[in-house]
Amino acid sequence: MHADTLVRMVNDISEFFAPANPEAEAAVEVAGHITRSWDPRMRRQIVEIWQAGHADFSPVGRAAVEILAAAAARKAG
C-alpha cells in the first residue's frame, strides 16, 4: 500500500489519542488501535516504512509504530 497513505492513517489516529494522554500512553493507545483494526500486511508494511525512515510520522505516530515493531520482533523471535 502507498506509504504516505499508511503514515497519514497512523498520524490521524495519533491526533485523536495524543491530546488526551502523555506521549508514551498515547503511543500505546495508537498501537493498540492499529493492532485491533489493521490487517497484518498493513502492520508489517507500516513497520517497514518506519524502518526505512519515513519522515512524516508525528511523534506519537512514530512511537506507536516502534511499539508495533517491537511486538512484531517478539512474535518473530
Partner: protein
Amino acid sequence: MYSIDHTDLGTPPSTSSTMVNIELDGRPFAVPDGTSVMRAAALAGISIPKLCATDSLKSFGSCRLCLVEIDGRKGYPASCTTLVADGMKVRTESPKLTQLRKGVVELYVSEHPLECDGCPADKHCELQDMAQLHGVTGSPYLAGDACPPRVTAESRAVAFEPDHSNPYFNFNPELCIVCSRCVRACDETQGTLALTIQGRGLASQVAASAAEPFVESECVSCGACVEACPTAALSEKSLLTAPAPVQAVTTTCAYCGVGCSLKAEVADGKVARMVPNRAGHANQGHACVKGRFAYGYATHADRITTPMIRATLSDPWREVGWDEAIGHAAREFKRIQAKYGKGAVGGITSSRCTNEETFLVQKLIRAAFGNNNVDTCARVCHSPTGYGLKQTLGESAGTQAFTSVMKSDVVILMGANPTEGHPVFASQLKRALRAGTKLIVIDPRKIALVDSPHVVAAHHLQLRPGTNVAMINALAHVVVTEGLVREDFVAARCEMPSFDKWRAFVADKRNSPEAMEAVTGVAADVVRAAARLYASVPNGAIYYGLGVTEHSQGSTTVLGIANLAMATGNVGREGVGVNPLRGQNNVQGSCDMGSFPHELPGYRHVSDPVVRATFEKAWGVTLDNEAGLRIPNMFEAALDGSFRGMYIQGEDLAQSDPNTQHVVAALTALECLVVQDIFMCETAKFAHVLLPGSSFLEKDGTFTNAERRISRVRKVMEPLPGLADWEVTMRLANALGYPMHYDHPSQIMDEIASLMPTFTGVSYEKLDRLGSIQWPCNDEAPEGTPTMHIDAFVRGKGKFFVTEYVATRERSTSRFPLLLTTGRVLSQYNVGAQTRRTSNNVWHSEDRVEIHPHDAETRGIADGDWIGITSRAGETVLRATVTDKVQPGVIYTTFHFPESGANVVTTDNSDWATNCPEYKVTAVEVVKVDKPLDWQIRFRQNRETRLPSRHTTPAAV
C-alpha cells in the same frame, strides 16, 4: 383503502392502564379508560357502522353513522367521539338506530355513483359495505319526480375533474364522500398538512395545497391519504391494472433504516399494491413514497436474471447456468489464493440483503476463504457509530425505540435530514414536536424541520461543514461550566476517572462557545441557549445521521455525542438516548451479523480466543485471529497487488464510494471480481462473474432497523433468477469446498441465535408471534429490549473520551474556496439503483447543486445553469439551484444518479478510527460552463436508452 386483511377498530387505542367496566348490548366488558365506545365495541366483537372513523386517526364525528344509545344520555351520541365511563350501558342496535343510520347512508349514496363493478375499491369499499349492511341499493333522493336529481358537478358548482397527476394514485372527486380522512391522515399520520377541504356545503371538495394537481402540490406522496380513504376517491393506480389482491403478506421495507412493516397485497404471484402495516412497530402504520409505491424496480426490465461470466473486462458477457458461473468463481478464488496467498481475496456483505444472507457471506469469507477480509457498506456510513457507541456505552447500536421520541422534551437533531432520508421517523418526530417537544437542529443546511408548518426549531446551529466536534465540545462546555451536569447519574453510572478527565478538557476556555464561534460560524449565545435547553429538561434525546459520521472526525463526534448524553443523564429510559438514524434497511443488521473485518457476529473481536472457539466449533474450521482488510484497504491492496479477488453482494462501490477514479483503478486491477446484484450496477461493469440477485420480495429472511428491531421479510414471489441470494452464497461456499446446507433461512437464524448472546431468544416462531423483536433478546429479555442501558451500561460503567477538535485537512483555499457537502432527497434512495427505475423520477430526475445566491452572483451563475465543480480529486458538472438553504461558502448536492459524478469530486480522506469517508466536506470551486462533461453526456444517453447492449458491452475502463 386500508389493507385487505386489516380489521379496523374505529379509533386509536388508549394508553391508560386503568380499566373501566361497561355494558355493551347487555354484556359486560372491561376496556382501558379513554377508549371510545366504538373501539370498545369493536374489541368486544361488535362492529358499529362508520365511515369517517378509522383506527389510525383521531375520532372526528362527522359521518353520524356510528350513533348509539346510552342509558342516561340524551339523543344518539356518536360512538367514535364518546369515551367509555365506568358503569356505562350502551346499545349499539335498535330500530331507531337502524332508521337513523339508513337515512345517513342514503344521503351519502345520493352523491356517490353506484356503479361498483370495475371500481378499484369494489368489495373493499366502506361505503359499499355500509350500503349493503343497511339494504341501501339506491337513494330515495335519486328517484321519483318529487325528489331532486342527483347532485351533479353543476349543482355543486365545483369541478369533478379527476386528478391523475400523481404517478401512483388517482384522485376522483366524484367518488369522494368528504369524510376528511385523507386530510386528517395528511395532518396526523404524515404531518405535511398538504390537503384541505375547500368550499362549503355541497361544494366541499378535497384539495391538495391551493387546489393544485397532486404532483405539483406540497403532497409528498406518502400514500397515507390513499390508505385512509374509505372509497376509491383516492386509490392506487396499480389496482386498475393488476388483478384484485387476494392475500396480504406482512414484510419489511427494503429502503431506509426505519424498516417499515408493510403488507404486500398479491394476486397471481404479483404485487398488486403495498400498504403500510397498521400494526407495524417501527412505522406505526405509515410509509413513504419509496416503500409504499416504489417497488416496481423488482420486476423492471433491467433485472439481471441469468448468471454471466467473462475472462477479461474487454470480453463480452456470456450467459451461463448457475453451476458454471459458481464453479468458475470458485475456481478463480482458489487459483488466486493458491498463487497469491490466503489473504488475496475477500468480500463485501450487503446492507440491502437479509441478516441471514449477510451472515452467510461473512461466514463464507471467514470459513471458506479462511481470512477476515470482509466488510460492508457501513464502512462508508455508520462505522463511526459502531466504534463510538461501543467505546462509550458498550454496544454498537442506538439506545431507543422510535416511539421513545414522544416522551422527549427536547430533541437534538444533528447531521440528519429525516424528512428526506428517514421520512416515516420524521412523521413520528413531527407528532412529538407538535405536541410540544422542542427541537435543536445542528446542520450546515436549513433542512425542512428548521421551519415547516407547525414545526419551528427552537435553535438552528448552522455550523460550517467539518466542525461538528467543535460544536459538541462547545455544547459540553456550557453543560460543565454552568452546573448542568447530572452529577448523581454520572457518579452512579460512569467511570469517574474518564469523566474527570473529560470535564477538565471541555471546561477549558478553548472549547467555549465564544472560542469556537470562529470555527463553527455559530454565535456563542445561540450555542449556549441550545446547550441550556437540552441539559435543563427532564428528557433530552439526540438523533443523528451521516452528517455526523461521514467526516474525518466522525468517530470523535459520536464519542462526543455519547459524552454529552451521559453527562446530562440522558441515557437509559424512554424519551432520551443516543439514536443513529441508519441509512440502509439492514445496515444495523449487517453490522450485527459480523460484517466488519475485526469483529465476529455480535461485535466480538476476532482476537478473542473464547469467542473464536465458539465459532470454530460450530463451523468446523480454524478462524484467523487477525483483523482483515476494510473496503478502502482492499482498494489499496488491489492496487499494490496483494489483493486480487473479491465477492461483492449487493453493493455498488463504483458509484457509492469516494474518489471514483481510485475505486475504478482498484476494481480494474482485480483478477476476479464476482458481483451479485439485481442490476448491472456500476461495479458490475468491472466484474468477471455476475450472479443475479433477488429482491426483498423474492425471499424469506429478516432485516434489523435503526432501533435494533428485527422484522421478518417474507417471500411474495419466486426469485426471478431462480435462486435467492442466500442459496447462491451457499452454493458458492460448497463449490469452494466448505460445506453449507440450509433448507430455509429460519435455520440460518437458528444458527445466529446459537452463536450471538444478543440473539439467543430470537426465532422465526417468536418473530411471527410478536411481530418484531428489538435485540438483545435472550433469557434476561425474552421479548426484546426497547430501551438499552436502563440500570447499567452494556460495558458496565459509561466511559467518557476526550474529543479534541482537529480541523479536517480538506480546507477551503483560494483555489478551492467553497465546501461541498452531500445528502439525499425523499424520492430517491442512495445510488438510485432501485428508485431510478420507478416513477419516483417524476420528483427528482437529476442531481443538482445548491448554491447560495451570494456565491452564485459573484460567479455569474443563475438558477438552472450548468456549473463545473472541481476538487483536488476530480471534476464534474451539474445544474445549479440557487437557494438560501445553504449558507454562503457551502454548496450541496445529492448523489442518486451515476452521471452526476458526485463521488468523482469527493476525496479519500476518512475518519481516523474507521476509515469512513469524509463525504460531507470537499473543498471545491465552481464555475459556469456550457454543458456537462462528455462522459456525463454519454452516460445520460446510455441510461435513457436503457443500456440495450448491456449483455455485450465491455466495461468502459
